[in-house]
Symmetry: C2
Subunit: 341 residues, 2 copies
Amino acid sequence: MNLKQLSEHLKLSQTTVSRALNGYPEVSEHTRNRILKAAQDLNYRPNIRAKGLATGRALAIGHVIPVSNQHEMVNPVFGDFIAGAGDSYARAGYDMILTRVPDDEVSRVYHDIKARGNVDGIIVHGPVINDPRISLLSRIGLPFVVHGRSTDVNQPYSWIDVNNRGAFERGTQFLIELGHRRIALLNGLEHMDFAFRRRKGYENALRNNALPVEPDLMRSEEMTEIFGYRSARDMLERTDRPTAFVCSSIITAMGVRRAVHDSGLTMARDVSIVTHDDALSYLENGDDVPIFTALRSSVRSAGSLAADMLLSLIAAPQSGPRTRLLEAELIIGRSTGPAAT
Amino acid sequence: MNLKQLSEHLKLSQTTVSRALNGYPEVSEHTRNRILKAAQDLNYRPNIRAKGLATGRALAIGHVIPVSNQHEMVNPVFGDFIAGAGDSYARAGYDMILTRVPDDEVSRVYHDIKARGNVDGIIVHGPVINDPRISLLSRIGLPFVVHGRSTDVNQPYSWIDVNNRGAFERGTQFLIELGHRRIALLNGLEHMDFAFRRRKGYENALRNNALPVEPDLMRSEEMTEIFGYRSARDMLERTDRPTAFVCSSIITAMGVRRAVHDSGLTMARDVSIVTHDDALSYLENGDDVPIFTALRSSVRSAGSLAADMLLSLIAAPQSGPRTRLLEAELIIGRSTGPAAT
DNA sequence: GAATCATCCCAAAGCGCTTTGGATGCGTCA
DNA sequence: TGACGCATCCAAAGCGCTTTGGGATGATTC
């Protein structure tokens, strides 16, 4: 069932039917109702490709996920972010198109996307420090919103981000106030902007309290369980072992917990853990009482907000870059306690 | 830069240029090379919507993710599956379109998708027992491949699945051979087909060894860490506590491990754990020596295979349903040992 | 030399929609 | 009564591509 058939069936022109369906005023209420009813009854759906061709809009948003050549890991955060964004798109009648792109092909792919015209805008995932994609997309003229920010990029652009620096400063400060002096940081890869900012926050807190920043206590890797385990294991073997850990991910924190157990120590009593928590639906941080003391910020709602931001950016292109900084919430769980004296 | 401009620039017809670019034989080698070079130089990309309109193909695959009204959890497996599939699509020049659909709207959405014509085929995620989507899609006439199978559906359809029954039978048998007699099952939601099959496998192994199937030792829920923890905690408090657990997910297994520790017991010595392992990139099961004894099957390669299957199904629609059963590999890790006597 | 046949290329229609630029009919007003 | 405005509707062009149905050219055959 296409427009032509529908209009023939109604003995009206395609123009009138199209206008009625799209809410234009040049159609009488009577005719409009007749058309809407027929469309409903005959189960008419406009062909999105034809519509796109005619309007020049694609009615789709692209999510371009960088896949690094060294680090093939799929971001665990991704599913939840997409879920949040997808719900927003569904409400607006947009499709969501996913593309995985190797680092060395981003430029080609963005040009492709622009030329093929299959999306109206893009969400940029996983920004690194001084991310070249931002100036590239601005130059190409494709509307976009970055999930995260990019340090050292000085042109304006739209982004939505958690206050990573602030959160980690707060988490570290919290441990310091509990009396901890040797606090380790198990961070994500620090060329990633979020990880870079988290380290800044961690260091700020130490400096504010006149504590030394010790490279020995800082690690930066993909945030896996095994990374948490191995790092904590190593550090806990030392005589001057840390009494607390700040982790960039619940998964890593789980590894630390395992190491604490395996070292014959007790969490909260001997070793405290504070972790970032993206509130992933499959990694709930306990139920009534959280397992880990955490800096929580739902990546799912970030997805939804990013999508909304991009859609409004597309609707009003002139309105200039928008930004939104979300604050993480400090949740006190059972993984922290006063430093042993 | 569109076809018209390109052909004017070359002083050729659109027909010839189109044919040259799409590899049709009616163009001399000389002209073809000239066209290819110009296309390259001028950075020409065909508009995919126009192409789709003209050919009737969408050059896109839809992934429809069911979102249950009761269980809002985002499937943790999803990211890796998509990664595998996405790589296949990229190779074939297809786009991947994601749609999240509430359970009660599947029918409407599938009809929409068909009518709007924005995909050439669909991957069905998360099949339940007797899944209505299969007959629905067959009736609508949209090519599809199911990730998993659906018990009680007797019409033929294309699917790719892990041998869940076989894997869990094997895992349970392994524990029995280690001397375990009281073996608990922490399963996913059993209206999901994969979970249903896993229970069958578990029960088969018990029956084959003349062991009782005890409802007290079987739980079925969303596969979270907390589910594993709480269930194991409960069961380990009993006087006739289980000596082994079979889990449907590494995340749940982590919860069990925590419960074992918190109960003052030792993994492998007092309590053994066997778990399914989807080989998620952010949940590696240890490094050289796996942490958990596991039934491993990469969901990522399943994604890639599912995508390839669907693409070939679209290319040769008459060729009838295809199926592919993957075997999980039993990996011996440090979570299992002989039953304490 | 005419007929036949490849080879290479083109004009134009068509995919399903939107949108421009009228056309038509009717009531209103001086 | 004629001019005008308004409310409704329509024909046709156009979005960028593919594909059908030839047309022109030169080589080959008889």
